[in-house]
Amino acid sequence: MVLFLNQLINGLGTGAIYALIALGYTMVYGIVKLINFAHGDIMMVGSYAAVVLMVNAGVPFPVALVASMLVCVAFGVAIERVAYKPLRDAPRICSLITAIGVSYLLQNSAQLLFSANPRPFPPVFSIPPLRIGGVSISFVTLLTVLVAALLMVGLNLFVMKSRTGKAMRAVSEDMGAAKLMGVNVNMTISTTFAIGCALAGIGAFLYCIAYPSVAPTMGAMPGLKAFIAAVLGGIGILPGAMLVGFIMGVAESLTKGFVSTQLSDAVVYGILIVVLLFKPSGLLGRAQREKV
């Protein structure tokens, strides 16, 4: 029982990180319909920025957090302008391949700059874990779950209620019609990328606190998981992405604890397939059939 609870809590912690990255993924995915394979690598960029600032420049943690979020935003917006914007009218697979190219580019640039050897991430919090009976809950886990939940609620409100949020939804449905309403489409898409990448920046910090090692390819795995969470939750549905992020984290952790470490990925993908068989438009997605 205690082992179960411990694994469950671990899983919630990992899941919260997946969820957080998936939120940013879903924002971009839902509004621009772009599978941004470079999203995980933006997180990697944020992690390096944080390490350089905190270790090499001795910047205090809160400042480093804000600064590395800004670095992520700058990268994200620049990448969108240079690499994705010219392909807006091209078939979707072109922007997908470009995103893969960007992902490789970021990884290999990081490797050239920082070498392939991982760099340690400095400890940030030294708060002892909370213990209830034999169950221990680390501060980071609590913090991650809380931050992910708050951001999800906040973002959802933003997208549903705010003026910019409505513009984003309009752009996602019909770019041309949104222009006719006076929406600045380029600006709106940049904003979407900025928000998504800022979230990746926060995710980078929480990820690095949980797994304190920074490497050029560190973004690939969480990026892939976040992509799965974004699709499985229902395209563009923020609570869906978050929910699936948590489910994946918990499933992974429980499989590692009770079945086998090697099989944990297979279990996650198995869940993915089963869910899609029963909910072909994602967990919280509305079934949409093409109108004939």
């Binding site: 490797q111 050239l112 099989l263």
Partner: protein, 615 residues
């Protein structure tokens, strides 16, 4: 004929020449062992890319797990060869046919397994399922005893050779070309172009999706087998998500749907890392920049969808074989497509609905709809927007399952049948928003619709057996004949989306007629047409009545058209039939005037409208 023969000869000699050149260079040592190995890897990657192009380029579904099939083939073939040669003492070379084939078949079985969920999914959801399956395959292979766990298997006899890889590659390429030009290939293409329209012409989208996935997986399995016998070691970790992405990149860079493009891209991208060896540290960096620039400046890939004509090679080879083996030239007279014998009773309606209705949640979209259509009759179905007219069409074609009542086509109930079955049974339709197979030619659009009335198998199509030639010649005749009836023969070879609007509507009607329907449903054919175009449309519909034995049911808001050509009219409002009768009766029906026609279209005024051409 002479020109055709020349290009046969040209292609065939090109294939042989390339082979002989490379082979001599390898044998003489001018190409060293290392580079010969790279040439073989190019061959293997070409097979992978060409086969992935079938699912991604031809079928149009993003597949993110192609390397998974390759690994199944590699392990299967590797293990079989190892076992046979060590425990039974077979010559490893003799094991190859068995093990390669087994690898292909097992991979195909996995492809089939993935194709089955494709039943319900499309787009990104399907893509992510393929990703999931690919990863599951990898994890399972890494955890099985027989596949050697995480370490994989090693010491597979390295008996693969350049000629073997080369000729398997050529065979796969040719099969892809011939498949692409058979009725089965056309069916796959039509799904990419417009799945809804494909289904309505009688093509089972599900079956062809599974077919494409299985087929592609088979070749990936073969490629895997070659790989195992080339490298000698197989480890599941090699075939991860990134490997699948690598092949996807090759397909897109070559051009989606272009086999020639796939070949070039696979060759270039396999060679590129070798050419960049001098810049080892910057290799991936340069590759990624190249990828981005390529997409930005050539988003359609190297070749777009264009091809070199390689099918001819096969025809030449087949002809050559026939002559040397002295196979008697078989009957090549065109075999016309089936003409279904419809069993229509005298005076009995062709199509009849009884108390038909449907509820969507709390909304009763149609209720107690009783329609009768007789042969050679043009019947109108009119009513306000949102009255349920298209809903009725969707029930008749199996898109929606009615919650009440019955639909009888020539006396037999069709409720519960699939859309493609109903399409093959004799109901054809057009769509409110035109649904053509846009990037296919006018003639190909028509040929797709002959699908259910042809019988040659996929094997006949691939190997170009006489049956293929005869049936294809037959539908070519029929398709051109149909186009001639509608005065569209001259447009036969242009792309469907290059036609002007009115012609696109007409092509859609032609395509529907090519399925040889007993009932033709036209959904707002005059929408967006000006009075002149509408008049031409009226002539077209008149032609259908005169030349084809078919009952037409027509949804339309253009009263000049409806009143001008329909013999009877049903009026729908709030999902119920509120009136039925001749145009004159409908025009004077006060309820119809109030709900639908409005006062300027009543009695005398509508008469006036006819003379003045008011719609």
């Amino acid at each position: 004929m002479n020109r055709k023969f020349k290009s046969y000869a040209l292609n065939l000699s090109a294939v042989l020449l390339i082979f002989l050149t490379l082979y001599t260079l390898i044998q003489s040592g001018a190409i060293n062992k290392y580079y010969a190995g790279i040439l073989i890897m190019i061959g293997i990657n070409v097979i992978m890319t060409v086969s992935l192009n079938l699912t991604t380029g031809f079928l149009g579904e993003l597949a993110l797990g192609h390397a998974g099939f390759m690994s199944v083939g590699a392990f299967t073939a590797g293990i079989i060869t190892k076992q046979l040669s060590t425990s039974l003492g077979w010559d490893p070379l003799a094991c190859l046919p068995v093990s390669l084939l087994a690898g292909g078949i097992l991979a195909a079985a996995m492809g089939f397994l993935i194709g089955v969920p494709a039943l319900r999914l499309k787009g990104d959801y399907l893509a992510i399922i393929t990703l999931g399956f690919g990863e599951i395959i990898r994890v399972i292979l890494q955890n099985m005893q027989v596949t050697g766990g995480a370490a994989g298997i090693s010491r597979v006899p390295r008996v693969n050779t350049f000629p073997l890889t080369y000729f398997i590659m050529i065979a796969v390429i040719i099969v892809m070309f011939t498949l692409g030009r058979s009725r089965h290939g056309r069916a796959i293409l039509s799904i990419r172009e417009n799945a809804v329209a494909a289904e309505s012409t009688g093509i089972s989208v599900t079956r062809y999706k599974i077919f494409a996935f299985t087929f592609a997986a088979f070749f990936a399995g073969i490629a895997g087998g070659l790989y195992a016998h080339q490298i000698g070691r197989v480890s599941a970790a090699t075939f991860d998500f990134n490997k699948s992405i690598e092949y996807l990149v090759m397909v897109v860079l070559g051009g989606m749907g272009s086999i020639t493009g796939s070949i070039i891209a696979a060759a270039v991208l396999t060679l590129l890392p070798e050419l960049l060896r001098g810049f080892a540290d910057y290799r991936m960096f340069l590759y990624s920049i190249l990828l981005i620039l390529m997409m930005l400046f050539r988003p359609k890939g190297l070749m777009g969808t264009a091809e070199f004509s390689l099918t001819l090679v096969w025809d030449a080879a087949a002809g050559f074989l026939r002559r040397t083996l002295r196979i008697r030239p078989r009957d090549h007279t065109p075999m016309l497509p089936d003409v279904p014998r419809y069993d229509v009773g005298e005076e009995a309606p062709v199509l009849e609905t009884g108390r038909l209705g449907i509820r969507f949640g709390g909304l009763q979209a149609a209720e107690n709809v009783n329609l009768q259509l007789y042969d050679n009759e043009i019947v109108g179905l009119i009513g306000p927007n949102g009255a349920g007219k298209t809903t009725v069409f969707n029930m008749l074609t199996g898109v929606y399952l009615p919650t009440e009542g019955d639909i009888r086509l020539m006396g037999r109930s069709i409720v519960g049948k699939k859309t493609y079955e109903i399409g093959a049974d004799g109901i054809a339709r057009t769509f409110q928003n035109i649904r053509l197979f846009k990037s296919m030619t006018v003639l190909e659009n028509i040929k797709v619709a002959f699908h259910t009335r042809m019988h040659y198998s996929a094997a006949s199509g691939i190997f170009r057996l006489p049956r293929y030639a005869r049936e294809e010649a037959g539908i070519d005749l029929r398709a051109r004949e149909l186009l001639r009836v509608f005065n569209m023969e001259e447009s036969a070879d242009i792309r469907a989306d290059g036609l002007p609007y009115g012609q696109q509507r007409k092509l859609e009607i032609c395509r529907a007629l090519a399925t040889n329907p007993k009932v033709l449903l036209l959904d707002e054919p005059a929408a967006g047409m000006n009075p002149i175009e509408t008049r031409e449309l009226m002539e077209t519909i008149g032609l259908i009545r005169d030349r084809f034995s078919v009952a037409v049911l027509l949804i339309e808001h253009d009263m000049k058209l409806v009143m001008g050509i329909c013999e009877r009219i049903y009026v729908l409002n709030y999902g119920r039939v509120i009136a039925t009768g001749t145009p004159a009766e409908i025009r004077d029906n006060p309820e119809v005037v109030r709900a639908y026609l409005g006062h300027s279209n009543t009695g005398a005024k509508a008469e006036e409208g006819e003379t003045h051409g008011n719609a």
